[in-house]
Symmetry: C2
Subunit: 434 residues, 2 copies
C-alpha cells in the first residue's frame, strides 16, 4: 500500500513543483468561497492544502467541502512555495480521497484550542494524542527508552525478561494484585528485584530490563500509578557508588539524547531542557534531616522515613537532581547491604528530582546468613523466599542495582503536572479503561 | 568497587606479563600436588589459574585448595603465555580471595558434563544458566531484541507501552487470567492488539512494543507458555503485504545480527546459522490445502484451521521460512480485513518456520461498520468493545500489523527442542517458581 510519499514536516519550500502524496487527519477547514484551505496534520507537522474552488476539479472541491474535521484523507498534489503559508509552502491538490470519515461532534477538541479536564482527555485518549503536545510526550518517551538502552549496551549489559506472574511478594508487603493461576493463587510482580538478583548468581553480570511492574496501592496522587514501567539494572562486582554513577550517567545521557533528537517536540512543549550535570550531588540521610530541622519545620527523628513534605522542602532547597544516601538500615528493604563498620546505616540510595523520587537502589546483601537475618528482622519468613535464597548458597557475587520509574523520569524532564500525562493508558484505582 | 580489570575472554597470550584481576565462579580445581589448577569461569570464558604450590605464598595455596567448586573468587595475577593452557595463556596469581563460598553438593552440575532433565535444570535455573550453552541462548536473545528494535528505529517506529491490566478480552475468548483489581474484576492482557490499533487513530503511525502477554491456555507442549514476550508492530497506511515485508526483513536482520555479534555463542551452541533469504515464500491457504491433500494424508475441508500435523508436513516439504496467506475469513479474528472483491478470504497471514508458527498478522479492518458486523459474525458483543470501537468513528487510517513470539524466534533460530530453553523463568500450567 505505502501511500504517503512524505510527512508534512519533510516538505520544504525548495521542493516547489514536486509531486507529493500526504496522508493524515483533517486538522482544519477554512472555506472562504473562492479559496478553501484544508490543513492536514500528520505525525511530523501540518500542511496547508489550498483549493481554488473555481478553477479546481468540481468533484475535488465537493470532497474538500464535504469532509468533516479529523477525517483521514489522502492528498496528492504539487508543492508550491508560498511565504504566507505556514512553513512556507502549500499543496495544490490533484486528488483528495477520504479514507475514513470522522463523526461529529468530536468527544474532544484535538487541536487543543479548547482545554479539557485530564479525565476527559484520558477517556478520549485516541483524540487527545492527536494534540501535538500530547503526542510529543510519547515521542520523547520512546527516545528516552532508546537512550537508556544505548547506555546499557555500551557498558556490556544484557537485556533480560523476567516473569510478571509470580508466587511470592518481593518484600512480603500486601500491595499485590492476586491472580487466579489455574488452580493456584499467584501475584503480579511488584518489581523484578528478586529475579535480577538471582541472575547475578548465574554470571550474567550486568543485566537490564525495561518492563511493567504492578502495585496494588490505593494512593491517588499525581505521581503514583498501579501499573508502571520500571527500568531495572543489576550489576555484579559493583557497589552502590558504581551503580549511582551508572544511574546519573543514564539519566544525564537521556536528557542529552532528547535535547539532540527531539528538538521539535521540546519546542512544541515549550520545554528548554537543562541537561543535568554529573556527578549529581550526594546528600546523606543524616544531612537531609539536619537541613530539614534547620528550616524550623517539624522535626523528624533519626530512623523515620522522609515524608513527602520534607522531600519537597529539600528539593526546593537543592534545586537539582541529587542522591539521598546512607539511609538507616531499618528504613530500607531487607536486601539492602548495611555498612560493614556501621550496620545501622546502609548502602541504599534514592535518586531525587527536586519534585519527587525517581529511582531507588543499593548495594545488595550477598551473604546468605546476613540475608536470612535481615529477612527475619523485617518480620518476614525466610521460607517464603526459598527460590530466591537458594542461589545465595552456591556462589553469589557482590552486586548492586536500581529501579527507575520511566514515567517519572519523563514527567520531571518535561515538567508535566501529572504522571498520567506520561503514560498512554494509565491504570489507577478508578481507571481501567481504555 | 569495580574489581575486575578483564573478562577471561579478553585476555590474549600477547598480554604476557600484564597484571590483571579476574572475577568469577570456580569452574574446576585440579590439585596435582606440586601444581594446582583453578579454572575460573566468567561471562566471557574460562581462565586457567596456575599455582605452583611449593613456590607460592602458603596462604594463597591454602585458599585455592580449600575453595569449593562454584564459589565466587577474585584473582589478581600476571598473564603468562602458555601454549599448553586453554586459549594459550594462564594466570600466575598474586592474590586469591573467596567472595562467596558455594555449598556442596551442588543441586545441579553447571559444567554440563552430567546431563539433567529440563525440570531439574529449571528448578535450579541459577546454576543451569552457568552452563555456557545455557547462557549463550540468553546473550543471543538480548541481541535479537536489539536487532529487532534497530529495524524498527530505522523505519521511524515509536516504541510504546500499553497496559497489561485490562477490562476486556482481545478476542472475547476465555483464555484469560482474572485479576482482583481493587473492587473490580480485570484481566491480564492476552495481546496489545486492541491498544496498538487504537494508537493508529492518533496519528502515531508506526509503533512497536516488546512486552509480556498472558494466556491461560492449558496446553502442555514444547512451544507454548502461559506468559511470553510478544514483539508487536502496527503501521498506518499499510496493508498486509507491507507488514509481511517488514516482518521478513526484521527476522532476516535478526539472524544476520546474531551471526555477526554472537559468533562465540553460536559456536558454543554448535549452531551454524543460515540467514533466511528474503522475500520469504508466500503460500496461500488454498495452496497449502492442496499440498497437504496431494500427500494422500487425511484431507482437510476448506475453512478448517490448519492443524499442527499438517503444519509439520508443510514445514518438512518447504524446509524454510514461509508466509501462509489468504486465509478463510472465518478462521481469522474479527479485526482481519477481508479482501474487498472476495470477502470469504482475508488479508491475514502467518509467518511459519518449518517447525512452528512464529508470528501472525494482517491488514486490519478500519471501517467502523464492517468491524461491527465482523464482531457480530464471530458471536461477540460489540458493546464489550466500546473503548476499542470508538476510535474507528473519528478518523481511523487503514493499518496493518503483526505479533511475533520472541522465544519462538530464538527457539527456531537455535534449534532448541523446548521453548522453555529460550525463557529465563518459564511459566506453564505446572510451573510458577522460580
Amino acid at each position: 500500500m505505502i501511500l504517503r510519499t512524505h510527512y508534512s514536516g519533510e516538505i520544504r519550500p525548495e521542493m516547489d513543483g514536486s509531486e507529493v502524496t500526504l496522508a493524515g487527519h483533517v486538522h482544519e477547514i477554512r472555506d472562504l468561497g473562492g479559496i478553501c484551505f484544508l490543513v492536514l496534520r500528520d505525525r511530523e507537522g501540518l500542511a496547508q492544502v489550498t483549493v481554488l474552488t473555481k478553477r479546481a476539479d468540481r468533484k475535488l472541491v465537493e470532497t474538500v467541502r464535504g469532509v468533516s474535521r479529523e477525517s483521514v484523507v489522502l492528498v496528492r498534489g504539487r508543492v508550491k512555495a508560498e511565504p504566507k503559508a505556514p512553513n512556507g509552502f502549500e499543496i495544490l491538490p490533484e486528488a483528495v480521497e477520504v479514507l475514513s470519515r470522522a463523526d461529529s461532534p468530536l468527544p474532544l477538541d484535538p487541536t487543543g484550542k479548547v482545554g479539557a479536564e485530564l479525565d476527559t482527555r484520558l477517556d478520549a485518549r485516541f483524540l487527545d494524542l492527536r494534540r501535538p503536545a500530547s503526542m510529543a510526550v510519547f515521542k520523547i518517551e520512546s527516545a528516552v527508552m532508546r537512550s537508556l538502552r544505548n547506555t546499557f549496551y555500551e557498558k556490556g549489559f544484557i537485556e533480560v525478561c523476567t516473569p510478571k506472574i509470580v508466587a511470592t511478594a518481593t518484600e512480603g508487603g500486601t500491595a499485590l494484585f492476586p491472580i487466579s493461576y489455574f488452580e493456584r493463587e499467584a501475584f503480579l510482580n511488584q518489581s523484578p528485584q528478586l529475579y535480577k538478583q538471582i541472575l547475578m548468581a548465574t554470571g550474567l553480570d550486568r543485566v537490564f530490563e525495561i518492563g511493567p511492574i504492578f502495585r496494588a496501592e490505593e494512593h491517588d496522587t499525581r505521581r503514583h500509578l498501579n501499573e508502571a514501567i520500571s527500568v531495572d539494572v543489576e550489576v555484579s562486582y559493583a557497589d552502590h557508588e558504581d551503580v549511582m554513577s551508572l544511574l546519573e550517567n543514564a539519566v544525564s545521557s537521556a536528557y542529552r539524547y532528547v535535547s539532540e533528537i527531539c528538538e521539535k517536540e521540546l519546542q512544541i512543549l515549550g520545554v528548554d531542557l537543562d541537561i543535568p550535570k554529573t556527578p549529581f550531588r550526594r546528600i546523606t540521610y543524616t544531612e537531609a534531616l539536619e537541613m530539614a530541622s534547620e528550616s524550623g519545620r517539624k522535626s523528624m527523628e533519626w530512623g523515620d522515613d522522609i515524608d513527602t513534605e520534607t522531600e519537597h522542602y529539600l528539593g526546593s532547597l537543592i534545586g537539582e537532581h541529587y542522591f539521598l544516601t546512607d539511609w538507616p538500615s531499618s528504613v530500607k528493604p531487607y536486601y539492602t547491604q548495611p555498612y560493614e563498620d556501621k550496620p545501622e546505616i546502609c548502602k541504599g540510595f534514592d535518586l531525587m528530582h527536586p519534585s519527587m523520587e525517581l529511582a531507588s537502589g543499593a548495594q545488595r546483601v550477598h551473604d546468605y546468613e546476613l540475608l536470612i537475618s535481615r529477612i527475619k528482622e523485617k518480620g518476614l519468613n525466610p521460607e517464603s523466599f526459598e527460590f530466591y535464597l537458594k542461589p545465595f548458597r552456591y556462589g553469589m557475587p557482590p552486586h548492586a542495582g536500581w529501579g527507575l520509574g520511566l514515567a517519572r523520569l519523563v514527567q520531571t524532564m518535561l515538567g508535566l503536572e501529572n504522571i498520567r500525562d506520561a503514560v498512554l493508558f494509565p491504570r489507577d484505582r478508578r481507571r481501567l479503561v481504555p
